[in-house]
């Protein structure tokens, strides 16, 4: 369009400037609390209260909060517990979810529609509503205060979404490929192993979807694993902050210690996170 008038160009420039201003302000609001917590975690008590917006430089700097948070609590253990639960749940969601999704999209059998619907229903009904019975089952299976209780509960609540997304991707894999392998005498397990790499992008999306809620969960750790040896990071930090409510340096440091790993992983994989989420929702 070579005939754009000055007026139109001006309106466009103003429009894109307005967009930038709005997005910039929104980004500041999104980042502000996180930056404020990390910034003040590195300061002395006086600096936290007198100059909350200053950088932790010179006299204002202090790592005493981190010292206290790390010595008065059990951060390394909580962190290891959270990592074990999150990775364990993610692995099982991907494995079991892909097995179910493969079977449901590949084979026609009586009950297929029912099972698909059963998994679909799980996306809409929160698992929390069954908590009282979950506690009893965990007690009966001697799983209370074991990390396996958290893994199994998170796998159960993560499976519906995993099956839903993976099923659609499995259905798109061309039949020629599978049939060629079958003619060569491949078993159905071999076919599954053959098809799995083809749906890798969907597997990545499911991994993202399932990791965040498991890592951040407070409800089930509170109910199933509140023992000293089995606390997760979220529960540990929650109780630590409640206990040291007067020592702001220690509170802010413990919060920062919980934020930083998530922040690092998110920044490293932000491309995958964003494209995974949009890809997942287009499907």
């Amino acid at each position: 369009m070579q005939t754009t008038t000055l007026g139109v160009r001006l309106r466009r420039a103003l429009g894109s400037m307005g967009t930038q201003v709005f997005l910039l302000l929104s980004s500041v609001v999104a980042l502000f609390p996180i930056v404020l917590v990390i910034d003040n975690s590195l300061k002395t008590r006086e600096a936290i209260f007198l100059k909350p917006f200053a950088l932790p430089l010179g006299d204002a700097f202090s790592a005493a909060g981190y010292h206290k948070a790390l010595t008065q609590s059990n951060f390394p253990l909580w962190f290891a517990n959270s990592l074990f639960v999150t990775l364990g749940a993610m692995f099982l969601i991907l494995l079991l979810g892909s097995m179910a999704a493969f079977a449901l999209s590949e084979y026609k059998f009586r009950g297929n529609a029912f099972l698909t619907l059963l998994f679909l229903a799980g996306m809409m009904i929160p698992i929390r509503l069954g908590t009282v019975s979950i506690m009893r089952i965990a007690v009966a299976l001697r799983l209370i205060n074991t990390l396996w209780a958290l893994i199994l509960v998170n796998v159960a609540s993560g499976l519906p979404m995993a099956v839903f997304i993976l099923q659609q991707f499995f259905a798109q894999v061309p039949h020629d490929m599978k049939d060629a392998a079958r003619i060569d005498g491949a078993s159905e397990y071999r076919i599954y192993a053959l098809v799995l790499p083809v749906v890798k992008p969907a597997v990545a999306t499911v991994a993202i979807y399932s990791v965040i809620p498991v890592w951040n969960d407070l409800w089930f750790p509170l109910i199933l694993t509140s023992g000293n040896r089995t606390k997760t990071l979220t529960l540990g930090v929650q109780q630590f902050v409640g206990q040291y409510s007067i020592d702001w340096g220690a509170i802010l440091s413990s919060m920062s210690l919980a934020i930083v790993p998530v922040l690092v992983i998110y920044v490293l994989f932000s491309r995958e996170f964003v494209s995974g989420l949009t890809a997942g929702s287009i499907k």
């Binding site: 894109s16 709005f22 997005l23 929104s26 980004s27 999104a30 980042l31 609390p33 996180i34 404020l36 917590v37 209260f49 079991l96 979810g97 179910a100 449901l104 590949e106 084979y107 026609k108 059998f109 009586r110 099972l115 059963l118 799980g122 809409m124 929160p126 698992i127 509503l129 069954g130 908590t131 009282v132 019975s133 979950i134 089952i137 199994l152 159960a156 609540s157 499976l159 049939d179 079958r182 965040i212 951040n216 969960d217 109910i223 979220t234 930090v237 702001w248 509170i251 919060m255 919980a258 934020i259 998530v262 998110y266 932000s270 996170f273 964003v274 989420l277 949009t278 890809a279 929702s281």
Partner: protein
């Protein structure tokens, strides 16, 4: 049972073992830790917990007690009302701003698009514990942060201990939830807008349609399925919210139950709080009421919204 693919090879076999191998492990975990507990909880809501801890069948006794007894009814209606306010604020503020952000982010030739998407989605990655405490500290009058910010805009006199005040506390907690979850509607709307072909908008522009009309007449009808999805996700999420209130205002929804939601009421009842002992079966009764509320929303969505909204193939 028979397989479509490789049918010839499989014909005649009584049952394909591989089908069981693929399906039994996932179904076992899903059934044992989700399906069975959900149904078992519905069943338990028909039993009364006696003083000695035994459970006796009581029909709808728990429900009658929940809706009529002075120990439970005020808390039920109170948390239900608060939960409706919480949902309303989330729907209006979170989903509207999420839509506006998505529309802006999907503009052609936008600079820094990926950076904005990454930053705006960041709060959604954090746990309630971090989000709740960070905002609790920021809103605390003990720390000068909110005072300084209001002072900067010349509004210093507005500073109040909002989280300790009955009306404002619920609004504050709702808005903090909005802050945390805005990334979800933003991403879903953004993904839906990406699919709308540019030629469609360009053709309309050539015909003299301005940007405002293009949004309302072209994009909006195409976004309706996504709006429904965002709404139902918000609804289901909001009506079992627990964490943000628990972290910021304790399990009692301080001050004076003004931030008590169905989730905190449910938790308090089955696990016990302070010197009140837990009543597991009464807890499952509240859980069943929440189940019905969520089911009602899901059914309205499936049969009221999804059936009527047209989906276009683009």
């Amino acid at each position: 049972m028979k397989a479509i693919a490789g049918e010839r090879a499989k014909r005649g076999k009584p049952f394909p073992t591989y089908l069981f191998v693929f399906l039994v492990p996932p179904l076992a975990v899903y059934a044992l830790f989700m399906i069975i507990p959900l149904f078992d909880s519905l069943r338990l809501s028909l039993y009364k917990t006696m003083g000695d801890g035994s459970e006796v069948f009581a029909g709808l006794g728990n429900f009658v007690q929940l809706f009529t007894s002075p120990n439970f009814a005020p808390r039920l209606w109170g948390s239900l009302k608060n939960n409706c306010v919480f949902f309303l604020i989330n729907t209006v503020v979170q989903n509207t701003i999420g839509l506006v952000l998505a529309v802006l982010l999907s503009r052609q030739r936008l600079r820094l698009r990926r950076l904005y998407l990454t930053v705006l989605f960041l709060p959604t990655m954090l746990s309630y514990v971090i989000v709740g405490f960070a905002w609790k500290l920021i809103l605390s009058p003990v720390w000068g942060v909110s005072g300084a910010i209001l002072g900067f805009f010349g509004l210093g006199q507005l500073l109040q201990p909002w989280l300790g005040m009955e009306g404002p506390a619920l609004v504050a907690v709702s808005l903090i939830s909005v802050w945390q979850w805005i990334g979800i509607p933003m991403m879903l709307f953004y993904a839906a807008l990406l699919v709308i072909p540019n030629e469609l908008i360009e053709a309309a522009t050539v015909d003299g349609v301005n940007a405002w009309q293009a949004f309302w007449k072209i994009k909006m009808p195409l976004l309706l399925p996504t709006i429904g999805m965002v709404e139902i996700l918000t609804y289901v999420g909001n009506f079992n919210t627990f964490d943000i209130v628990y972290v910021m205002q304790n399990a009692v929804g301080a001050p004076n139950y003004s931030t008590d939601l169905l989730g905190t009421f449910f938790y308090r009842t089955f696990s016990g709080y302070g010197n009140l002992p837990g009543d597991p079966t009464m807890g499952t009764t509240i859980g069943s009421v929440m189940f019905l509320i969520i089911l009602l929303g899901v059914l309205l969505y499936l049969f009221g919204w999804k059936r009527r909204v047209r989906t276009y193939e683009l």
